[in-house]
């Protein structure tokens, strides 16, 4: 009997699978046991023919056991370990060979790319075994440090290596570097909307969640998409965190270091967004980890979907529990929610009259509970510009990379300041830290006292204003939060009722 390692994916983790092969006499047949899915059951044909291309003729009854026996296994990535196990059992490759193998076989012996390269590399590092992957997975596997990994394009090449006839090149650790690629749309392409642009700059600098309210056609979606271009590039750790999830879902790698941007349609289910299913797949929230989750027309989402966002927005991770087990996925996102000011979309518009009754408007916003709104620091209102106003505007707007530079500087200030508290940005500030270490200046304190009564700020509303003001001060490079910063933060307080 021979034994080597394969793996199967569960959520964003790779679990080791021992592949045991035993050859007994009799007529030729292959049987696979160990809770294998259909793709694995069918692998016997791919394995038999691709081994045949190397001149290995199989005889007798071959039993393949996938252990642990009670773990459901899925996917064609077990083709390669089964083939290697059989080759080892028939004596084609030496007895002492061991390692983790993953890959799907083609009938001519080529190896096809599979999903889960990054989790597999983590598993190999943990077990201390060499990892053999198809050439298509080389990019994701080489993102993990301290792994002995090899890429091969066909099964013949792999067997030559295992027999010691021709050595494969060990993969080097490489991470994709940040490239200066223009993100469409650039902030310079957006005419007007100075207030919204400034708001998004603050959001990017302090990692604040954003709410965009504006009439149809005012440019909410375009602004949300442009935000991606002013976010700082992913750091090494963040890149790997993000890639681990992408890789487990079989999504192509992004070669630059732009943060993920996931735009979710309002018909999506809670499972699609939070993750789940029989195999506990990560959802859109996790795919947007370290990036942006954009919920356009948030009032059209199902209420349970919106409420499901509460806990992950607070904790930065989400635990999905199903009958088949539970898994925790990272879900630290910058949420952008957008909606119209009323069902017809034209409340407070200068040209078109709104046709909604106050009851309609109430119902429209009923979906957004207080707890959700409390987690969104910046409320930006997007005016719908009239044609005359659009023509009036000068077109010398700043481009995204200039703004990104300021954002990165503000981020590094925050990182330095909050280092001892284990938080990275102002959005994560807790009530307790804010009370003691926010750094309000004297005039700031006086201003805060004067507005508290006149604007009827609630406790939560006040702490949102303070967080945003801290970020504005960081953008300006000021140590203390002054009254001017607080005054600007007030302008992003929002609310849905307009003084009419």
């Amino acid at each position: 009997m021979s034994c080597i390692y394969g793996l199967t994916l569960r959520g964003i983790d790779a679990l080791p699978v021992e592949v045991e092969v035993c050859l007994t006499g009799g007529l030729f047949s292959i049987s696979i046991v160990g809770l294998a899915d259909t793709a694995i059951k069918e692998s016997r044909e791919r394995v038999r023919i691709s081994l045949g291309t190397l001149g290995i003729k199989l005889k007798g009854h071959i039993s393949v056991n996938l252990a642990p026996a009670d773990l459901p296994k899925e996917g064609a990535l077990l083709d390669l370990p089964i083939a290697v196990g059989i080759a080892k059992e028939v004596g084609f490759i030496p007895e002492g060979v061991n390692g983790i193998f993953m890959g799907e076989l083609a009938l001519d012996g080529r190896l096809r790319k599979v999903r889960g390269g990054v989790p597999a590399a983590f598993l190999a590092r943990q077990l201390g075994l060499p990892l053999f992957v198809p050439w298509g997975n080389v990019a994701d596997v080489s993102m993990v440090q301290e792994v002995e990994a090899y890429g091969c394009s066909n099964i013949g090449e792999l067997f030559c290596h295992l027999r010691g006839e021709k050595t494969l090149q060990k993969l080097d650790f490489t991470l994709p570097q940040a490239k200066e690629i223009a993100v469409e749309p650039d902030f310079a392409d957006i005419k007007g909307q100075a207030a919204a642009k400034r708001g998004l700059e603050i959001a990017a600098a302090g990692h604040h969640n954003v709410f965009l309210v504006g009439a149809p056609g005012s440019g909410k979606t375009m602004l949300a998409k442009a935000l991606r271009g002013i976010l700082p590039p992913l750091s090494d750790d963040e890149l790997i965190e993000a890639m681990r999830i992408r890789s487990a879902r079989g999504l192509p790698l992004e070669t630059d270091r732009f943060r993920p941007f996931r735009s979710v349609h309002h018909t999506s289910s809670a499972v699609a967004i939070c993750g789940g299913g029989i195999d506990l797949k990560p959802g859109e929230l996790s795919l947007a980890h370290r990036g942006v989750l954009f919920l356009d027309e948030i009032t059209e989402f199902r209420r349970d979907v919106i409420e499901a966002l509460r806990q992950p927005l607070e904790d930065g991770c989400i635990t999905v529990s199903r009958a088949s087990g539970s898994a925790t996925y990272p879900a630290s996102v910058l949420l952008i929610a957008a909606c119209n000011p009323c069902p017809c979309g034209y409340l407070g518009d200068t040209v078109k009259e709104c046709t909604c009754s106050p009851g309609d408007i109430d119902r429209y916003f009923k979906k957004l509970s207080g707890p959700i709104l409390d987690r969104i620091d910046l409320h930006l209102q997007i005016p719908r510009l009239t044609p005359e106003e659009l023509l009036e505007l000068d077109s010398d707007a700043e481009n995204s990379s200039a703004i990104r530079y300021r954002v990165m500087r503000a981020r590094s200030i925050q990182l330095e300041r909050w280092r001892h508290f284990g938080i990275k940005c102002n959005a994560e500030l807790t009530e307790r830290i804010m009370k003691k270490y926010l750094g309000l200046s004297k005039d700031g304190r006086a201003f805060l006292k004067s507005i508290g009564a006149s604007l009827r700020l609630t406790g939560r509303g006040l702490s949102r204003v303070l967080k945003v003001a801290r970020t504005i001060a960081d953008l300006a490079g000021d140590k203390a939060v002054k009254d001017s910063h607080l005054a600007e933060a007030l302008a992003y307080r929002g609310g849905f009722s307009f003084e009419r």
């Binding site: 642009k197 000011p341 409340l347 407070g348 209102q381 001017s484 007030l490 302008a491 307009f498 003084e499």
Partner: protein, 364 residues
Amino acid sequence: MKDEDLSVFLALNSLKQFDGNLIAALRLRSIAPSDLMSSPSLLREFTNSEKAMERWYEVLSSGWHLRELESCKKKGIKILVFNEEGYPSSLNRLSNPPLLLYWWGRLEGIKKFAVAVVGTRRCSNYGRRIAHMLGFKVAEEGFPVVSGGAFGIDEKAHRGALKAQGVTIAVFGTGVDQCYPSKNLPLFDEIKESGALISEYPLGTKGMPWNFPERNRIIAGLSDVVVIVEAPIKSGAMITGRIAMECGIETWSVPGRIDEGVAKGSNLIIFDGAYPLVDVDSFIHLIKGSPEGFLIGKKEDKAEELPPEEKQIYEMLREKGDRTVDNIAGECKISPALALEMLGKLESRGLVATTGPGRWGIRF
């Protein structure tokens, strides 16, 4: 008036057949309310409607009128009968004054010079702003404001008056104990405190579409000046305006843009002879009868004490109306961040507010 007589009038009013003229007719034939009680068939002399007679007998036999009086007393709702003490004499100008009024609130303001501010529910931001300003300034001078209870112009006029801590009167097309539209309940409670909710309909009457035009004659009748803020051609405010003009009540209308349906009626009524309201302050001067007459009066300037940057923005918004941050930053030649900062400061002073998504304007 004795309770028995009051209940007779409540019963008569519930038939929806009679107006204040009935009182004169009864007096002409020297029929006292108690006579109607003892011989109900006397009423046949005043109506040809079989249905009304049927209902009359039904009311008297079931004792509805007694229960109605009882529940009015319990709630503190006063009943003012035509030509009796307390009944607003200004309603006599109408050809069909209400037989009686349910009056919930304070009786002050009945005898005073009152100003009606009416307009459509679906009004523009401009209309809301003017209604609020009118309500505020009229009430500030001590004149009661009269209007309906609907959203839009009515609501804003009441709110303006309440803000000035003045007297405001809401005339309902439903029973006074009904809250229609229900979202205005807090507003009505506030009005009850300082002014009054009034109606000619029995308690519990739901809002029937034909009640509201009828109600409008009371708004006009109670007032000495009627101002139409914004009204399309077909609207309740136009009915109020027409009634006012027919009765010789001074009628004003706020000019609106001529290409907007929402101001078509209020513009038309100017053509038909209403005074155009071109300046709120001079309007106030005129109704006060002050010697300055049609001069633009003195204005207290809120901008005077502001720091220069805030003053610049405040004055710009006052001159040019609602603006986006782009406009403000461009026209004042400052950065958007600074513009937002100044708007935040002005907002905390209660001088500006958002009037629509991303648009800022001054507050009154």
